[in-house]
Amino acid sequence: MTVRRASWRIATVTALRRESATSRTLVLDVPDWPGHLAGQHVDVRLTAEDGYSTQRSYSIAAPWRRTQLELTVENVRDGEVSPYLTEVVEIGDELELRGPIGGWFVWSAQQAEPVLLLAGGSGVVPLMAMVREHADQASTAPFRLVYSTRSAVTAIYRDELERAAGAVLQVDWIFTRQAPTAGGRSAGRLSAADLLVDGWLDVQRPAIYVCGPSGFVESAATLLIAAGHEPGRIKTERFGPTGDQR
């Protein structure tokens, strides 16, 4: 098998969208991009004037639309690259990127089974690419997104998700610190009750995608398995520090 190397490409920033206090979407023009699947990521390389360079991976936030590639980046405290992408980059700047990377944590409209998406924090980004692809392709596969975030202030894509929710997309918010209105689910972490929801039980055999910080993914996967879902149907993607030395 002859495989062409995923080469570094120059992307130009064409638009910027503030998504929350700490996150921003970069819309990039990449003329020779080969396309990608929902859930894949890219490597971004920055180079300082003295030649020092560093790379990080970021999830792609939307399906490939002609020449536009969207990344949503969360500003990681003490990070080296994310503060630059969320605070410094301006329209017209160029970034180097290569990809798409990752052939496992992906969804395509050829999949007809129900899909359960569990997002923790900025782990919603690759899952949002799946939600958008699902809408773009007018897929009738039932989708449920359970999105855990601290509060309405930290939520990314909130307006778009509220608008998109409907017959084939159920959106459930888990506010871990502060719930926005009285009467809804009270604030607290993802629990067994959040998963024992009609239509989304183990007997419906949904394909499950979990993305978020390691602690969120670990506890979500444990709850899913306790609820009877087969480990082989659960795909996970983790990011960020563990926060301990284990």
């Binding site: 570094w8 920055l46 080296e80 160029e94 180097e96 944590f105 996967a221 996970t236 983790r238 030395q245």
Partner: protein, 199 residues
């Protein structure tokens, strides 16, 4: 040739140790895995090496722990760009385990609890380059990091150091493992930055 990123300074790099290209240093120990963490019962745990002719040698947990083990310190390099230096491990050298198994095969396919696989040349398992480890930083290896036992082959990117290892199969042919079938490099040498297909 790289383009300069306007307004990007990067971290102070006067103390940055020599790292493989494209890597950055972390102090914590990130967790990455493609699925849920398997919970493996030590009473039924087994590690087996299968030769290319189908002969199998297996070890129970107790038998593995009765073998001579060593403590050693190595650097880790993950394909997702982080590197962690001076990590302290305890385990059994693959040389000890391979001593029980005769093989002239060139390739190995590693199999794990949970279904993960990875492939590498048998030569990369020999001569003090690979271990089955069960201790990290002086304590039992945590399940999220591959406990009760994982393969450790620190001279290759960390996806080759399969967590929750259950066996190694020697083969005449080179069969790509999980990530190797999904776009990641077949060999994965961090010093040659072999991250993806074609690198």
């Amino acid at each position: 040739m790289a383009i300069v990123s306007r307004g990007f300074a990067g971290r102070a790099r006067t103390v940055a140790p020599e790292l493989p290209p494209g890597q950055y240093l972390v102090d914590d120990f990130p967790v990455l895995s493609a699925g849920p963490t398997p919970r493996v019962d030590l009473d039924s745990w087994e590690f087996a090496i299968t030769s290319e002719t189908g002969v199998q040698h297996s070890w129970s947990w107790r038998e593995l722990r009765a073998l001579p083990s060593e403590r050693f310190t190595v650097d880790l390099h993950c394909v997702t760009k982080w590197s962690k230096l001076d990590t302290a491990w305890g385990g059994v050298s693959l040389d000890t385990l391979l001593g029980a198994v005769g093989t002239s095969a060139d390739y190995a396919l590693v199999r794990c609890y949970g279904g993960y696989t990875t492939n590498l040349p048998v030569a990369d398992l020999r001569d003090g380059k690979a271990w089955i480890v069960f201790e990290y930083d002086g304590a039992d290896l945590h399940p999220e990091h591959g406990g009760p036992a994982r393969l450790l082959v620190p001279h290759l990117y960390l996806w080759k150091s399969a967590k929750w290892v259950r066996g190694i199969e020697f083969r005449a042919d080179d069969k790509p493992g999980f990530w190797e079938s999904l776009g990641y490099h077949n060999y994965g040498d961090p010093w040659r930055e072999q991250r993806y297909w074609g690198d």
